[in-house]
Amino acid sequence: MHPAPSIIAFTTFSGLGFGLLFWLGIDPTPPSGWVGFVFFLIAYLMAVGGLLSSALHLGHPERALKAFTQWRSSWLSREAVCAVATLTIIGVYAACLVLGGWHVAPLGWLGALLSLGTVFTTSMIYTQLKTVPRWNMPLTPALFLALSLAGGALLAGRVTTALVLLLLAGAVQVAWWCLGDRRLSQSGTDIGTATGLGSRGAVRAFEPPHTGSNYLMREMVFVVGRRHALKLRAIALILMLVVPVALLLLPFGHLLALVAVLSHVAGVLVSRWLFFAEAEHVVGLYYGAR
């Protein structure tokens, strides 16, 4: 799949933002006043910024409201509904904390639950696609949730929790890569079933429909070299896991924490780039790609 910067930014930052909102929501002693304001501001900037960048990806952003209507059948619609519900509920919770200093715990818990719901629905947009076997497995929601919770804990300054969750997210990420590499061949779809000619012999794409490129090829046929991908996987893991964990183990300092956060975000961005770039869409088979 084409790794569009707007979708990479959307999934990464909204994941982190909603992760932070989760931890703020369940915090028994949440930050209030100015400190609270800054925490919520960061979370909202990430969550809303991510959503806005995904809206940029639309052909008709002005009709975006229509996307709230099909929640009964569409994961994308469910995600939109969940995101707005979360931001509204936590908005009220945050306003109480920041302006009045009141901690309305049940509102926070509801917001936290909805935050996880939003990350889950985002992941389901990808997981549901049978056409992209690498995404079409239960580990995909696990990966999104693990990264969101780990990043959120890191942003919320919960050192011990972040350490545990970072290691967990790293493990899920490695497992996701290993299983994902086998998904296309496991799916049973190849150029033989795509053309229905596989039982007659070896099928080879002889001529594409047009000499030029097209929407399908630009959007769905993206090939990363294997050596390249392995290197990027290592970079992603070092940035999102190894560096932050090492920094968290050092005595706490605000500068170190900032570096840990930035490194983690950079790592997740690389991992998300790979999430798209490495994903094989079965339509590529018609064009003789993998």
């Binding site: 052909g59 994308l76 018609y286």
Partner: protein, 248 residues
């Protein structure tokens, strides 16, 4: 609503004969010609005369080479458009309800004034049957020429999809695949019509007729007797020259 109908009254669709298609692309052109000026937004081209031309098409013809274990390879021309799937994943993923499948005839359509151009339906289609128009920002797909097939203003013989009407080799057939007695259903039964990517679970309505076996190395061509070499042993001066050169 992007829920799929439980059943549809009819299952209108195409039957494409891979045995007869000659890969002329006439159906591609007639499709684009009809659909760029009728239902919905036009099918735009980007840089049509430039170095990197591309554009929106609802029907594209691929060509594949099949190499059997033994014998010569066979070339198969392969037109591909929306298969109007019964279990259309492109419909259920749509967040706006713009994509829908009609209950009366099973045609899968996009209501362009509701489409936000998110592109998710194109991701959900295994066949590459949906293309986002770069100029309009809305999703385009085969409508089975819904504005021809019920159009009383057209002469009766034109009330079929533009591609079917145009095909010079008779490789494209249109009809109700839900009715076992229809001509298309009979054709599918007779020729072993097949689904593309059945493992994707989309239950396509359109069927493909497999190419008949052809061309074996051992077969004598019917033209062979007429193609015997005509040269005979040289006579006269040429015979002498031949012998002279031989002895040199």
């Amino acid at each position: 609503m992007t829920d799929l109908p439980e059943t549809t009254d009819r299952k209108m669709g195409l039957v494409i004969d891979l045995d007869t298609c000659v890969g002329c692309h006439a159906c591609v052109i007639s499709c684009k010609g009809w659909n760029t000026e009728n239902y919905g937004a036009p099918l735009s081209d980007q840089e049509p005369y430039g170095a990197d031309p591309s554009g929106t098409f609802l029907n594209r013809v691929h060509s594949y080479e099949v190499q059997p274990e033994t014998g010569p390879a066979q070339l198969v021309h392969f037109p591909k458009s929306c298969l109007h799937c019964e279990d259309a994943p492109c419909v259920t993923v749509c967040p706006t309800g713009a994509s829908y499948k009609r209950t009366e005839d099973g045609i899968v359509l996009v209501n362009e004034s509701d489409c936000i151009g998110c592109g998710l339906c194109a991701w959900a289609c295994p066949y590459g049957a949906r293309e986002m128009d770069a100029a309009e920002g809305v999703m385009k797909k085969c409508t089975l020429c819904v504005d021809r097939i019920y159009n009383d203003n057209l002469p009766e013989e034109d009330r079929v999809p533009a591609c079917v009407r145009t095909c010079p080799s008779g490789a494209r057939h249109f009809g109700d695949l839900g009715d076992p007695d229809s001509a298309v259903s009979q054709l599918v039964a007779e020729r072993g019509g097949m689904d593309l990517m059945p493992e994707q679970g989309t239950k396509p309505v359109n069927k493909y007729l497999p190419p008949r076996p052809r061309d074996r190395w051992t077969d004598q061509s019917v033209l062979a007797p007429f193609l015997e070499p005509v040269a005979e042993e040289p006579r006269g001066f040429l015979a002498w020259l031949d012998r002279a050169l031989e002895t040199l």
